[in-house]
Amino acid sequence: MADYRTPLAKARGLGSAKHGVGHFIGQRVSAAALVFLVLWGVWSALFLARSGDYGTARLWLASPLNATLLILTASAAFYHMRIGMAVIVEDYIHRPATKAALLIANLFVCYGGAALTAVCLLKVAFAGAGS
């Protein structure tokens, strides 16, 4: 049973250890951004809840600063939660087909949610306070 290949030679090319670190960094960078964005978001939610009416919300979103920050908040949140939910699925779901289906569903929900939110917010922001 002589096997002249070293353990390293057998392991080479099998593992991932190539792209995984991207998720690790992305998760933390988006977390750092969200610390500030979410605090601003809570502050804004208080303001929007106080006025409550449609016109005030449109006027608020007509401000380029508010529109930019809200789109950034939603985008960073959807990106962050895509990675987070993928980790949860990978931790608990071991059947390959179910795991793949859930990971893809997670992608669709997160990118779909981010796109929908951005388009809706931009449409209102570009239309301005009127109509």
């Binding site: 977390a31 106080r50 071991h94 939110t117």
Partner: protein, 140 residues
């Protein structure tokens, strides 16, 4: 012989050792913080979808917006939003804790315990403070 879940065998035809599970360990506040970090993360998944719904309601016109804000202001809506608020602040505080760990700081038991309690307290206190501010400013 330890029981092995079917899933652990099915994935790769081998019986793999599993790490000791929750009930084996003495309760520790760091466990609570860890579990709640994941749970509040899932809750905030819903919170982000509520935000997407808000954007959709806003672009759909005054009636849709009024209905959506009405649903959020109802009792079940407020319970959900309060839960989202607690989740936001706990996940934020505990997330900062994670960022320090990623820098290699805060791993010793005393610090880990203390910061877990701080994150838990911050989650509830900040949420209550925000809702008190909302009540005082007439947002409720």
């Amino acid at each position: 012989m330890a029981e092995v879940s079917p899933a652990a065998q099915e994935a790769n035809q081998r019986v793999r050792p599993l790490s000791p599970h929750l009930q084996v360990w003495r309760w520790h506040v760091t466990m609570t913080a860890s579990i709640l970090h994941r749970a509040t993360g899932v809750a905030l998944y819903g919170g982000a979808l509520i935000l997407a719904g808000w954007a959709l309601a806003l672009v759909s016109g005054p009636d849709a917006y009024g209905d959506y804000m009405g649903a959020l202001a109802s009792i079940p809506g407020r319970v959900v939003l309060f839960g989202v608020t607690v989740s936001v602040f706990f996940h934020l505080a505990n997330g900062v804790r994670h960022l320090f760990w990623d820098c290699g700081k805060g791993f010793d038991l005393r610090t880990a315990d203390l910061t877990a309690w701080i994150a838990l307290a911050f989650g509830f206190v900040a949420a209550v403070a925000v809702w008190a501010a909302a009540a005082l400013s007439g947002a409720l």
